[in-house]
């Protein structure tokens, strides 16, 4: 009988332990947002087309985009270390680029134009060059850029990681004045996409849209524009 009691107690303890552990794991899962993270496993190279078309394929960069601009510091071209969050307080586009990236160069005139057209909104643009500062300086001699630039190869890669992205450029992060990230546009930014995002950002900033509805509206609009662009290309 003692043995049976002991076994019963052991059994109950095992169940209780599992329950506690299960509860903890469930809590951890919810709070770590594991549900929106996907494995990073690469597809076999022979399955190239399938990988290209397969949304479920373990894509590079299946990291987690933070909800707010992370606390990242990079040097400007004079070597002074600046925090990205120091640029907040107004709508902000953080544009990741490099001198070896041609779509990045192609979108820079658009960014300059957006900054001047949205001056009333107080829009600021910060370029983060994931590159060597001397290469950036050399580039700027031919192609001056009117908005602030931060540069650094290692620091740039760290910043990319902090934004939950991979070193594939360009990409542009759109944030409101409080630092809430509303959109991340991977690849060359187009004028219609930028305008759609900035419009939603303004709606959110003025209180006409909630953060969540503005994000949803942007995602939907970018999707529509991408479909239109893909159709036009074929």
């Amino acid at each position: 009988m003692r043995n049976a009691g002991l076994l019963r107690a052991l059994s109950l303890a095992a169940v209780a332990l599992c329950g506690l552990l299960g509860g903890y794991l469930a809590y951890r899962s919810v709070h770590s947002q594991a549900s929106i993270a996907a494995p990073v496993a690469a597809k076999p190279s022979q399955d190239r087309n399938a990988a290209l078309d397969d949304e479920a394929a373990g894509a590079p960069g299946a990291h987690v985009v933070p909800a707010t601009v992370p606390d990242v510091e990079l040097p400007d071209l004079s070597g002074r270390v600046r925090s990205l969050r120091a640029f907040l307080g107004r709508p902000l586009i953080i544009n990741f680029w490099a001198t070896w990236c041609e779509p990045c160069q192609r979108e820079m005139p658009l960014l300059a134009r957006l900054r001047s057209q949205h001056q009333e909104q107080g829009l600021e643009i910060v370029g983060v060059a994931v590159d060597f500062p001397n290469a950036v300086e050399q580039y700027l001699r031919k192609h001056p850029v009117p908005y602030p630039l931060l540069a650094g190869e290692t620091q740039g890669l760290t910043a990319i990681e902090a934004f939950g992205m991979q070193p594939v450029l360009p990409f542009s992060v759109f944030a409101d004045g409080r630092g809430n990230i509303l959109a991340v546009k991977l690849g060359e930014l187009h004028g219609d996409e930028a305008e759609a995002i900035l419009q939603a950002l303004q709606q959110e900033a003025s209180g006409h849209e909630t953060l969540e509805s503005a994000r949803a509206a942007i995602a939907e609009r970018l999707h529509e524009l991408a479909i239109t662009r893909a159709k036009a290309a074929t």
């Binding site: 049976a4 076994l7 052991l10 059994s11 095992a14 169940v15 332990l17 599992c18 794991l25 951890r28 899962s29 770590s32 947002q33 594991a34 929106i36 993270a37 996907a38 494995p39 990073v40 496993a41 690469a42 190279s45 190239r48 290209l52 078309d53 397969d54 949304e55 394929a57 894509a59 590079p60 960069g61 299946a62 987690v64 985009v65 933070p66 909800a67 606390d71 070896w100 990236c101 041609e102 779509p103 160069q105 005139p109 990681e161 902090a162 070193p167 594939v168 450029l169 360009p170 959109a183 991340v184 546009k185 991977l186 690849g187 995602a219 999707h223 991408a226 479909i227 662009r229 893909a230």
Partner: protein, 203 residues
Amino acid sequence: LAANDSDECWSFKGERAKMIAVRARSIAWRTAACGLAVWTSLAAPPILSHAESSPDTNRAASSTVDSLLDQSHQTAPGKRFLTVDEAFHVRAAPDGAGAVRLTWVIAPGYYLYRSRIRVTSANARLGTVELPPGQIKSDAYLGRQRVYHEELVARLPVERTGHAALELKLRIGYQGCAEAGLCYPPTTRLLTVELPPAAPASG
């Protein structure tokens, strides 16, 4: 009676033994299930630990951020971008005793820049890599560039100083982009090619 008692006792002992066995099995199963749950959770995709180890703990928690995430990793609706090795897969093979054949398989919708291909070796002198002309890519803002789509095959002469087989170590640099408007950083891959013994010079 004694026998009965004994039988009953035996029977009782048998029941107890069965009960103990069942309980033991139950505990074993529960422990195993529990262990499996722990293993599954701890052996979750590496990205999970990445997310957790990130200094930024302020992670988005809504379904709209799911779409933000999806959209931020797509080159076009439903098309996630490839890893650099999926986009540009390079291999090297001997091309006789005095050269190497380099082959890049380039995924549809991606291209490599001709001007950004570099090959060096730490243990042999190399000739100039013989690249095909490629295709002209014109851009209103950036001008004309020579690029490769689908496949690039290049011959790389190797200066042999001895006749013995050579384990040639190559450092191959290249850079490319996707037509969707994004680029990969300059990439370097280290490959080793076994070159066969060189024929002794005649005469």
